[in-house]
Symmetry: C2
């Protein structure tokens, strides 16, 4: 893949790159796209100077040795601060994701005074990608926009799905019999996040692999969204 | 794989099954083993009747329509109740894992009056599996014992690593340059969980696939443990 610029059609670039390396996209593929190139193409990589820090952003950044402009961006991207401790801001984004720093990232953005914000609507980004594959190649593939999130209780980050199209993200097994014929009560695997995690193995941050094909997994096709994976505030035990 | 019984050598069974299906284990494989067969082989599948409920277990189970014997097992496997709401017990297990019901599971255990508890030391279970592959096949492979955990803020469960041997679970990138030459501050992917998640795609609970080969991923070899993935209580923002 070439380095992505604002306005680029990343699906078109990915189609070319996949064909050029001898692994063209196929019907049934799940194609995982790194958030950072989606954000770049969609104009969501912005100069830090566009974020004039509020007094809150200034105070927090001073206390914890952060760039106050970046803190300001984190706050503007959030609808709620979930935790604010030890220099870490865990926020709920406008999409409903709970993550560190609202997904605002200063790595691999193409410059040192730029930051990347999450796409405005990552499901729409995934749909556009999927639609382009459908139109240009005549294939039905799933598209997943993926980002790297931390987790409570476990160190290290894993890739998860923040936007998707062409698959159902969850696979409810409740009500199905297990191997003993016992009806399962609570069991809903999330293949979308497992596909994103699998792709994450091939796209570590320091390397330039922004698109990964996950081939051969029989995901359930359908018109799903990553919003379905967001647990509602009311249902959550960790508000 | 045949159905596993207490005392079985699951590595030996897996070696046979892999060879029989024409995909023998190879040097560099990451082999993911479902917790339930590890627990079965290690005698951690027990009759519910062994768990005489305490008054606490009785009261909670009555209020939320749970089997009080199973609740008792959950409590005995825990060192701390992290959340207790709406019929859900989120506990910290003796291993330090934070999960629903201490990992106690009544699905796919081989009978309707049995429950499966997590292995006493899943890292040791993984090491035994890895050692058997080394001895019998002369290969260096990684072994991951995996279970299906829920997450806060996101619906659906994903497979994660609860025990491992032969690989380093985390890949710290801090201090390395990103694509722009900017030194990364907080970036530690957790390939062990991503490998387990990838394998989870091939081992949904209602089907009988307890061992999955993840081949071709250049994990960092080493003497890691899943304990390294457990965030310490002091460092956690969601105690």
């Amino acid at each position: 893949m070439p380095l992505v610029q604002e306005g680029d059609d990343i699906a078109a670039l990915a189609i070319e790159a996949a064909a050029a390396q001898g692994t063209p996209f196929l019907d049934g593929d799940a194609i995982v796209v790194a958030q950072r190139i989606v954000s770049k193409a969609e104009g969501r990589v912005l100069p830090l100077d566009e974020f004039a820090p509020s007094p809150f952003a200034l105070e927090w950044s001073e206390a914890w040795d952060k760039d106050p402009r970046q803190t300001e961006a984190v706050l503007r991207e959030s609808v709620r601060i979930v935790r604010q401790m030890k220099g870490v801001l865990i926020t709920e984004t406008r999409h409903g994701f709970v993550c560190a720093n609202s997904g605002v990232d200063a790595s691999n953005v193409g410059g040192t005074d730029l930051i990347s914000l999450l796409p405005v609507d990552p499901d729409a980004s995934a749909r556009a990608f999927r639609d382009t594959l459908r139109e240009r190649l005549g294939i039905e593939a799933a598209a997943i926009v993926s980002d790297t999130f931390g987790r409570p209780w476990r160190t290290g980050q894993t890739n998860i799905a923040i936007g998707l199209a062409g698959l159902r993200p969850l696979r409810p097994l409740e009500g199905l019999p297990d191997l003993d014929g016992r009806i399962m009560r609570v069991s809903t695997p999330c293949p979308a996040d497992e596909i994103a995690g699998a792709a994450g193995l091939s796209m570590p941050k320091s390397e330039g692999v922004p698109v990964v094909i996950v081939r051969g997994y029989p995901y359930e096709r359908g018109e799903g969204t990553a919003r379905e994976i967001v647990r509602s505030f009311e249902d959550d035990l960790f508000p």
